[in-house]
Symmetry: C4
Subunit: 276 residues, 4 copies
């Protein structure tokens, strides 16, 4: 008897489906994953092509058929995933479960709200599964290192972002006063948008100061923006260096002389020669 | 008898007001802070909305009423703060005291000088108080770490900024000679403005070199600007790494001479030679 | 008898050619290298000049003659290189062998496909040989340090780039929905192009959001782009610092077990406990 | 008898002039330096003002008089400097000697070549003397630290710049082929200029790709430019961190146990407790 009370045959089938869909160790599992990734890429391509006016005019019908084809395919796949896992609710709530769901909903939604099917590009996120196929555990560990460094810097980055937000609000308001309605600074929110464009050194040029005072103020903002980028960079670098260093040194202390700071490959204390 | 010679009842009242306004431990204090932050955000929103032409035309009266309402509210709050502290002058001169004052003055000023009330956006700074409400002591410590790193780099950053200023002045003058009055380089100050826009990699494109020689010179400036951003980044990172390393020093003090600042691998006090 | 079975005189000649062309120790070798670099620079200059319309109109014939002159010269040089090395196939497949080949092919191709001769600028890569002339072994070692740091960061950088790609696809699609066909966001690929221009803080301004919602979304992208540049910088810096630190390990080997990689402060071998 | 064979009175006068002009310890020396800096700033201001068309039209005569006044003043100062030093040739060849000379020459040159007097902005460099006045020895040491870090990175930075130059040449040529004469890519040098504008993330927008292939290629260049900025930053940071570390650790080894890596303030070996 299995947990869900299904007959042994059905249970074995579910196990088989689970193996093909969720794992990448068997030939069938690997083949499924590779086909899936190709299908995902094709379906994203279809959405992009549809957004191009000249293509849409001539091939709208074919593109729509393709889109519905992919959506139905992914819907079936989603149902199979739900069936084959032990706990469907746990899967449905997981990151990949949600991504899988949001990858099919927009097409159905577009029946009622035209245009929303462009949200299907969220399907791109599904390609994250590629990492499993290629058995790129290494990449996952690297991603975790980066994630840990960014998480460890959250507080510092929050403080930094808050400073930036305050700065662009005040600078934006000042520029609105200085430049007036001419030269694009038509409201404070728009001036704040300009301040962000300038401070981040993006500089579209759709709004640019025209008065001498405005240009002087803009110069200060630019040099500030150019300089303070050093802060987040410094924060992340410090975290990565710390992470790096922690990996190299054990917290093990010598039983004889209590010295610490031994490398992971050390067998003997480097200060007194006692076996660790 | 308290210091100001007020009767005990007034003193107790003042203490109560101080608790509500300045602290966030009691329910009343927390409620006050949360309401205050919402009020600040709303008052900033009103100023921004007023700056948008289409909204100003239709709702000017309502917005002005709102602005005066908030200003009077903040004025009352300011007076209460002055009354409830032990030393009103000390508070008035403190960072938050000045921010509180500058958050109400512009409205009164705008009676005489129209337009100045946009300076009210300085109210945004008041939200810094939010840190206290959320008991985010952690954020304060992180902000201090960043502040310390930036302060420690002040001399290096000053040298860097001076180099940048000299560079943009000389490059700006050269470009004025090279490009002439065509293509926007109409004066040396304007050329210097262009040099800053280029060196900081903002690049609006409102002024851009048109001659071959000008573009060659601009290319050198761009590559320079692209490269020397490494300098402030390096400076701040070094300071943060140093700060980080200092944290790794034990807080252990010598049993003999009480000296502190020993490395984690130290076995003997480095000042008096006693075994730790 | 030499390997190819050629008479001793031919072998000596081949050896002589090899010395002149491939080495830079003798006067003839050094002279050859200096002349070669000047020729390469001149030939690149000719290609650039030809691309300028006003020069092309007046001097097309002279430029074409020069181009064929350089191509034939480099063809002869290539043949000499093939002849003078022990294993022509090994050379032809090496990096410099391929660069040398691609530096002459486009001219011959341009007989059949006009325009392709501009690909000759690949000749610039040949100047890499300059390092040998100047005996700049130091530069090679520095290039290797940089290369090692970048190679060691490959996995982390791949994870970073993947995140960036996903981000620009999703942001691009959202902007296409938000901004509509107005203001340049005419298709999803074009919106993705805009997202890249913005996230990398390049900011041409040929496409810029015009709606309030679009500008708000753009602001988030800019601040993100401004912040996440910290990640690759942190990665490369960490690798370079690690490389640096590895250099600090002594080259001292244990007298007992010959193990290497001891820290400078190690007194005993960390693998067998023998006093160093 | 002094070296130049001048009578004792003249020698004493020369010594006095030297003290006033070159040193900043006496009151007269300090006063001279402060006046000098004000004069330099005023003279730079005059040049900038003259470049502004509206001011030039109305006040040309006054500005020219001012310029000649400052030039003659600086000429006299230059002569006094030459007279008062022991070795006039050594001074004339030094960095400050050359700056002082180039700060007066352009005015005289402008008699023959109009327009050249704008080169007078080189006078700004003279303000470097301000460091001596303020006795900012600290700044000099910081500048030296930065200079040392940049010098130590020269080889790595050269390798990096060479890679960037090769990259923009090849990308520029490809874009010329891809985009053709439309959309501003009118010649290879101009396309290379565009490549530099893009790679350094400046992004004027005066030249921007219009074809799909061109935009795809541009996207690659942007992401590359966004990423490789990590390299110079990493290099400089590593050098600064190394410099930092070297400052903190002596090369002194313990006379008893030969341990190294002691802090500068260490009096006893931290491993065995022996007095250093």
């Amino acid at each position: 008897m299995n947990k869900l009370g299904a007959p042994a045959g059905a249970s074995r089938l579910r196990k088989k489906i689970h193996e093909v869909i969720f794992e990448a160790d068997t030939f069938a599992g690997k083949l499924f994953d590779v086909l899936l990734i190709i299908t995902i890429l094709l379906s994203v391509l279809v959405i992009m092509l549809e957004s191009i006016a000249s293509i849409r005019v001539n091939h709208l019908k074919a593109l729509r058929y393709a889109e519905w084809f992919f959506t139905i395919l992914f819907t079936i796949e989603y149902l199979f995933r739900l069936i084959s896992v032990q706990s469907p609710i746990y899967y449905a709530r997981s990151f990949f479960g949600l991504v899988d769901l949001f990858s099919i909903i927009p097409t159905y939604l577009s029946l009622f709200f035209p245009g929303t099917h462009y949200l299907l590009v969220i399907r791109t996120l599904r390609i994250l599964r590629v990492f499993r196929v290629l058995k790129l555990v290494k990449y996952l560990s690297e991603a975790q290192t980066l994630g840990r460094a960014i998480r460890a810097s959250t507080h510092k980055i929050f403080v930094f972002l808050y400073t930036v937000v305050i700065m662009v609000i005040i600078v934006g308001s000042l520029m609105y006063l200085v430049e007036g309605e001419k030269s694009g600074f038509t409201s404070i929110p728009r001036s704040i948008y300009w301040a962000i464009v300038t401070l981040t050194t993006v500089g579209y040029g759709d709004i640019a100061p025209a008065t001498v005072l405005g240009q002087a103020l803009a110069s200060v903002v630019m040099i500030l923006g150019y300089g303070i980028i050093a802060v987040p960079t410094g924060i992340v670098t410090t975290e990565l260096v710390r992470d790096e260093r922690n990996k190299q040194i054990t917290t093990q202390s010598c039983p004889n002389c209590s010295a610490e700071g031994h490398d992971y490959d050390a067998l003997f204390c480097k200060y007194c020669g006692t076996r660790l």
